[in-house]
Symmetry: D2
Subunit: 335 residues, 4 copies
């Protein structure tokens, strides 16, 4: 942490900042510059809260020098985290494809789609039982019935399943049925939910908030690791920008940043990024090309009848095409 003083800061103001730093147990080191003084903060164990100093008299800026996260960082743990579910692995060296409908609508719907996506190359099935919807009047998911259908899909196809948990009240229920627990973009900073996830022994798929920085996202993961669950899969799904030709703007530069900063696996959700079927395949290829560890894709055999997100769901034959194409890209260096 570096405290930059105003050019006009008085010696008293500088001393006051030094005192304030030392009162909090840190070491202050004034650094006289060309025309102003900066003050470094040393010997802090863990991150310092810069806002403690930014309002003091004579302070122009507070500059953070180190990252605020710890357990999720590659500096803390060098080797990549690989999540394993039976034969399926998620992490470095793999391109794991998760696919299924936005929402589980019926057993026949789920099983039909599951057969399609398994055949095409997916190794994990997704489907929503509890759905976060902007409108209270939209379809909210089948709830426990949906979870039972997911269990049936696993039993029938052998694929592990992932589904979203929306609150503490239904966490135990969701945890009981699913193999991977998804925390959605709107809940990325639902800290109670993160702490509960940290107490689970199942892997957590943590979506990036729609306006979250990488630091905030990794700090959300830090909440989970800090409670003891090291099995976190990060999922980039686009951020909100001024752009409106896609629902969100997929931030693929997040992948090299996460690969450098953290040991956790990162996958891409092109369906929610695009919000439109015709961008899903090209964005999936791009995800494979930046070395993401996997994809989560919405697929429906009758998207025009889907109860949610039909317009971004691929037809099964499109999903087959997607799998073939991303596999070809992955195989260039990993075959």
């Amino acid at each position: 942490m570096l405290i930059v003083m105003e050019k006009t800061a008085t010696p008293e103001e500088i001393n006051n900042v030094v005192t304030s730093i030392e009162e909090k147990g840190y070491t202050a080191r004034p650094i006289p510059g060309g025309d102003r003084v900066s003050i470094g903060i040393l010997h802090n164990k863990g991150p310092v809260d810069g806002s403690l100093f930014s309002g003091l008299a004579g302070v122009k800026d507070v500059v953070r020098v180190t990252r605020p996260y710890k357990l999720v960082s590659r500096e803390f743990k060098m080797e990549d985290t690989i999540i394993k579910l039976g034969d399926v692995s998620i992490g470095n060296g793999h391109l794991t494809i998760i696919a299924g409908p936005c929402a589980v609508e019926s057993e026949i719907q789920a099983l039909t789609i599951a057969e399609h996506v398994k055949k095409a190359g997916a190794s994990i099935f997704r489907g929503g039982a509890f759905k976060p919807r902007t409108s209270p009047y939209s379809f909210q998911g089948l709830g426990e019935e949906g979870l039972k259908i997911l269990a049936k899909v696993r039993e029938t196809t052998g694929m592990p399943v992932v589904t979203e948990v929306m609150d503490d009240a239904t966490f135990d229920l969701v945890e009981e049925y699913t193999d991977i627990i998804q925390i959605g973009t709107r809940n990325m900073q639902n800290f109670s939910l993160l702490r509960r996830a940290g107490g689970s022994d199942k892997p957590i798929l943590l979506k990036r908030g729609m306006a979250a920085t990488i630091d905030e996202w990794l700090m959300a993961a830090e909440y989970i690791l800090e409670r003891g669950n090291g099995q976190v899969i990060l999922c980039e799904r686009g951020v909100r920008t001024f752009v409106h030709h896609s629902r969100n703007t997929l931030d693929l530069s997040a992948v090299p940043v996460i690969l450098k900063e953290s040991h956790l696996p990162i996958i891409i959700d092109p369906s929610h990024a695009a919000g439109r079927r015709d961008q899903v395949i090209p964005l999936s290829r791009a995800a494979a090309a930046v070395d993401a560890h996997g994809l989560m894709v919405e697929v429906h055999h009758e998207p025009e009848k889907a109860l949610c997100d039909g317009s971004q769901s691929l037809y099964p034959e499109q999903f087959q095409e997607l799998c073939d194409q991303v596999r070809s890209i992955f195989n260039i260096y990993n075959a």
Copy 2:
């Protein structure tokens, strides 16, 4: 809802869209244009989910014509909602000032600040007992002890209090102690929490999400009203943009839009918008000038020692200045 077809759409594709609309119980009305056909959807009760049609063959665009919200809209209820807590009112014709520290730190801290802000002109006291923090290593609030201190503040000063609720698990507890229940920006789309708030008989202060559109914000309020609680106060607190000279960009145009679209009161939080003390007073004056119904401001008697958000907290004498200035602006037309 208007479905715009491609120039090259075939009669079969147009018929297919018409059929798809009518299968869902609506009326389809094709509208031949200069060089393409559009299809209007009529006789829908409540909003239509456009994504049901956007993926059909030959469809170029789906255009939403009406707003998705209902109970919160001024079209549904013409007269302004005024929230009353004893002598204090929030809504049209009032400029209600809520003030206090970011977090309740001790009884002496809370009471000291409460005396200051009451004297300066605040009529409601704020203070966090459960704090949502980006880092698991930051101060998380005093919890129930903090709530008890808030009750003591009310008892001592006569001011109603507002504090944030973070999850379902602590909702009953928070509800028991506080007069107004705050739902924070990170929980704006925590739908379980919104539903629970809809079952409360206490007013809900609903902060706008940091990247939420007005529609999404009003739909979050709709969740609360739909469960039976009509006492919702909207709070604009800045949105996330590329700008970094303030923590967020205060979106004051939201005020005239909300005043036009909804009957609910809207207040401004300049402290979280700015994130820096020196912008809080000018932004507060601006809030009064656009006819917001109130302000929520962070104040601390010793901000350099505050356990959170010290850099944006006003000194008591600055808060006095703020109250005097915004009152003068309000009085121009309301005295």
Copy 3:
């Protein structure tokens, strides 16, 4: 400037950075921290280009400590710049209102509107003769004929006039006719135009780019001052964000920042920020309340027939209301 090294940086990498700094004529000062080394750059006259160092081996981050601008800064010139045009002043202590149509359409149109706005309280007339339009098929302005009409307005009403210059080729012409030369948002970083403006002896009204930071905006002004023209008026007109209930998001926090960082006057354009008539008056009041030095407002006596921006132009009676209201706010502290 502070160079933050990786935790794992080797002594060789640190030495290499030190050498690289010193080769460029600066002084390097290594600062050992808790778990990594940072290197300060001292004795630089003027700003340092951080990108020179950010790619060196072992460098984690480059942190800018000081501002990149000089002549526009308040550190360089403490007293406020006041622009004077006859009896009209723009700057600290004044609330100067500029008003007129988006485009000059005819002499009768311009004179009619000028009479209206002068009577209501405007002291400077605006009107476009050369119009930057997104589409080559839209009305592009009357050109020199428009400039002659502006001169007629000045002659008839006594008001100074402001109009936009779009390129070097027409700069002399525009400069000859107008009192203030406007550089539009799309040209904020048209450096040739900025340099040419720096050679003019007329004041320059410099609009903020639609995605410009404060630093970039002040650096654009620096181009003008650096060439010898110190009469620059900054104009905030909203920035582009994800929000779509207004055309842009008016960034009022820019005002206190500019007032602190620079000696130049700053005014607000609520018309282009809002893009909708019904937000213009409240945003104008807010601008007065944050102590902006003026307003630039679009007014038309027949906006439904206007050749551009009709939907954001005020009717004359609305503009009268606007002037009365902002004057009342200004008078609270300045009467």
Copy 4:
């Protein structure tokens, strides 16, 4: 165009809108809906300016149905535009790599880098002679001397060259020396420059503005085509968002949108998108994977000594790696 009326709009207001539409020469078609009336505008040749109607009494919204551009659209010209420079082609079926330094610094620097990039697989050389710089105190380029060096590079290596033009005054000069004329992101809506480019017989490389929508970008290209120059290459270079782990956020979804909407070629500039060397290679692979027609990459043999953008310039051996990788991806379907 669709005009949506308020629920409460009176028959007079509806008639007034109809009259206003017909006065402008269009046909108005009222469409009674469930609880409000909409009015379609028909028989317009070319786009309608919606702002002409959005301010009329009783109007709630104006909804644009068709795209505003014409000559650049695929509806106007179905077959892909391919730009040819001798043996080099840019457009569908090709992956053309442009590479070179940010700025031409000397003949030896340019020739050294040119040999490197040619050998690695680039077919066009880039280098700035006139540099747009945020600061007037930064290196502004070698000017005509730089252009002469570019001509020498072409003569020596046989590669066509591309360089940026900044203003009308130097357009003839730049046009004389270069093979492709670049218009930079800050000049995307410099309409004088676009018109001048429309009169050139050389291809124009048009970068997307840092906050431009696809529509605005294509309309900028429309300015060039409308003046007679059909050889435009679009270049996506990232947009400005709240994200700060990369300098801009590369918007790869722009590629499928442009491929669908327009016949013009589109290439990607990963260097300016990332602003950091370590993201350039993965983003380049992603660009190839979404079927962009080419890349423009900054390369320097001594980036730590580069006069601009050194931190995002690749070392020659990294560029070799980049070429090999993107070629492998391209070859999957195009070999």
